[in-house]
């Protein structure tokens, strides 16, 4: 047992070092400027730079819309697979794994091609208005569509792991035997037992959207990640300061979500 503990702490210490050093070095890099001494200029400059608030807000709105949409699509489908349609399981599995096969940069190349159809072929049809609407720079819904697709594999894994841990069929049949309707069984019996998996899926989606750069950049929109790059330019200290800040923002959001989920967690997870 002692050897196991030594091994455990050795592994944790080595990886901890690898993950903490770049963060610490980044902070040192922004504060301890050669020939200038300790200065907070890099950080104060960020907030006075235009677009900070609006791009962060846009990213959060996109993340919220993506999480709602992906859960609305995936949760009923995944529960149904367990209940009465196991034959569809391979289909859903393949559909949810396909986005892994298409890298974001290839995906955005395809989206760009499709969006070009709008002005080229559809300008006289009502569909054209839809094309314009989903590219509204105030809230580019086309990004939500892309992010939902990109989140599918992660959400699938998270929900699958959660559903594996509970016996959905027995839960639903028990609820139905007690007179609950189908919707009640889902909302009152299944979803509470899936809380961990739902939160996990939301975390992954949130982090994915907040950090996403490739699709937004190549389609010409400016959420937080793209703003960071645009604003950093040639100022080394400022660019690193924004990187540190973006990690902190993501971290605080995820911890807040984890706190909300953790407080109501039952003793079942303790086994």
């Amino acid at each position: 047992m002692a050897r196991l503990n030594l091994w455990r702490w050795g592994v944790l210490a080595c990886t901890g070092l690898y993950f903490l050093v770049p963060l610490a070095a980044s902070v040192v890099f922004t504060l301890d400027v050669p020939n200038q001494g300790i200065t907070f200029d890099a950080y104060t400059h960020i907030f006075s730079t235009g677009g900070f608030g609006s791009s962060l807000l846009l990213s959060l709105e996109l993340a919220g819309a993506t999480i709602v949409l992906v859960l609305l699509l995936m949760v009923p489908a995944m529960v149904a697979l367990r209940l009465g349609a196991p034959g569809l399981r391979p289909v859903v599995e393949v559909v949810c794994s396909l986005p892994l096969v298409v890298p974001p940069i290839a995906f955005v190349a395809g989206i760009g091609t499709v969006l070009k159809w709008g002005p080229d072929h559809l300008s006289r049809t009502p569909l054209f208005q839809t094309f314009v609407a989903i590219q509204n720079p105030g809230f580019p819904f086309v990004l939500v569509l892309a992010y939902v697709v990109m989140a599918l594999p992660f959400v699938y894994r998270a929900l699958d792991a959660g559903l594996r841990a509970i016996d959905v069929r027995t839960l639903v049949e028990a609820a139905r035997s007690c007179g609950a309707s189908r919707a009640q069984a889902l909302l009152r019996a299944v979803l509470p037992n899936l809380r961990g998996a739902l939160l996990n899926a939301s975390f992954l989606t949130l982090a994915l959207v907040l950090g996403e750069f490739t699709v937004a950049q190549l389609l010409g929109f400016q959420p937080f990640a793209v703003w960071i790059v645009n604003v950093s330019g040639s100022q080394a200290q400022l660019s690193v300061a924004v990187s540190v800040l973006s990690l902190l923002v993501t971290w605080v959001l995820l911890l807040a979500l984890a706190g909300v989920g953790g407080r109501t967690r039952t003793t079942s997870s303790r086994e």
């Binding site: 196991l4 592994v11 990886t15 690898y18 993950f19 770049p22 963060l23 070095a25 980044s26 040192v28 890099f29 699509l73 995936m74 489908a77 149904a80 697979l81 009465g84 349609a85 599995e93 393949v94 559909v95 794994s97 396909l98 892994l100 096969v101 298409v102 890298p103 940069i105 290839a106 190349a109 395809g110 989206i111 091609t113 499709v114 159809w117 569509l145 939902v148 697709v149 599918l152 594996r164 639903v172 139905r176 007179g179 992954l204 982090a207 994915l208 950090g211 750069f213 490739t214 190549l218 990640a225 790059v229 080394a236 690193v240 924004v242 990187s243 973006s246 990690l247 971290w251 984890a258």
Partner: protein, 298 residues
């Protein structure tokens, strides 16, 4: 709660199952329709564009293999092979580090440590892109903090190289490995270890004959996910190395944004198709494995 429940109605189990099948299809349908539009349409457009060649003079489009053959020659082929090599090496190293880390966390008695590592992994697994590149430039770049204080330049250290990229990629690949392998590790019953020890097996024998065979499908599945993630990474490399390390994603972005010759957009689509084929090949290995792992860990 009680007010919402009407008097208990006896619902025959068989009828629940039969109706479940029909409504099961109904519940899956929105997902399928959505992916057909949001994913199928761009994929079809990419496929169509990859095989379309526009004549310079007339602008008339025709189908041909020209883009695809161009994408498999010269600098494009070098970039494709460079991406495969970088992804394979990074995924292998991340797997070798991520498994022991996940094991150390899962078997720990401290729930807070577990929670902290898993939450941190969730954040770091998605800490790709430009911020990651900037953080490493600040640490190990030419003017980086460690480079300056440890005098790494004299030892021949260069962040803007193949191995530099591997070190940076590990920063999001290791947490990704921890996230994907943790459920499988949690599925390892401690009784199996005890049973193996009671039968006289050493720890090494337990791992070789019990734990690793059970974990193998999940482990390989995780490696595939890491490979795909590294293969698709674009922003980190773009911000860090420019074009000193040839990578297929950088080539595609160049061609898409018109940095090279006009009319290369469809070569970019053909390169995208090459990427999809490589990733698809790996996925064909992965899906059967995933199904096998479910047998043990259900």
């Amino acid at each position: 709660m009680t007010a919402a429940l009407p008097k208990a109605a006896a619902v025959p189990v068989a009828s629940v199952r039969r109706r479940g099948r029909a409504s099961g299809l109904l519940a899956v349908l929105p997902l399928l329709v959505f992916t057909a539009i949001a994913f199928g349409l761009p994929a079809a457009a990419m496929l169509n564009g990859a095989f379309t060649v526009k004549a310079q003079a007339t602008g008339a489009a025709s189908y041909s293999l020209a883009n695809v053959t161009t994408s498999l020659r010269g600098p494009y082929l070098t970039a494709l092979l460079g991406s495969v090599k970088l992804s394979a090496v990074s995924a292998a190293v991340a797997g070798a580090v991520g498994l022991p880390l996940a094991h150390a966390v899962v078997t720990s008695r401290f729930r807070a440590l577990r929670q902290a590592v898993l939450t941190a992994s969730g954040v770091l697994a998605n800490f790709g892109g430009v911020p990651l590149a900037f953080a490493f430039v600040a640490t190990l770049g030419n003017a980086g903090v460690l480079t300056r204080h440890l005098g790494l330049t004299d030892t021949g250290w260069d962040l803007y190289s193949f191995w530099g990229l591997v070190i940076v990629y590990l920063y999001f690949l290791i947490p990704l490995m921890v996230l994907t392998i943790t459920p499988a590790l949690e599925g390892l019953r401690s009784q199996w270890r005890e049973a193996a020890h009671n039968n006289g097996a050493t720890t090494l024998q337990y791992w070789l004959h019990v734990a690793l065979p059970v974990l193998a499908p999940s482990l390989l599945g995780g490696l595939v996910l890491l490979f795909g993630s590294a293969f698709a990474a674009y922003a980190t490399a773009a911000a860090m190395v420019g074009s000193s390390v040839p990578l297929v994603t950088l080539q595609i972005a160049d061609a898409l944004s018109g940095n090279v010759l006009v009319g290369q957009e469809n070569v970019a689509l053909a390169l995208s198709l090459d990427m999809v084929l490589v990733a698809g090949l790996v996925m064909a290995v992965y899906l059967p494995l995933q199904r096998r792992s479910a047998r043990w860990l259900a």
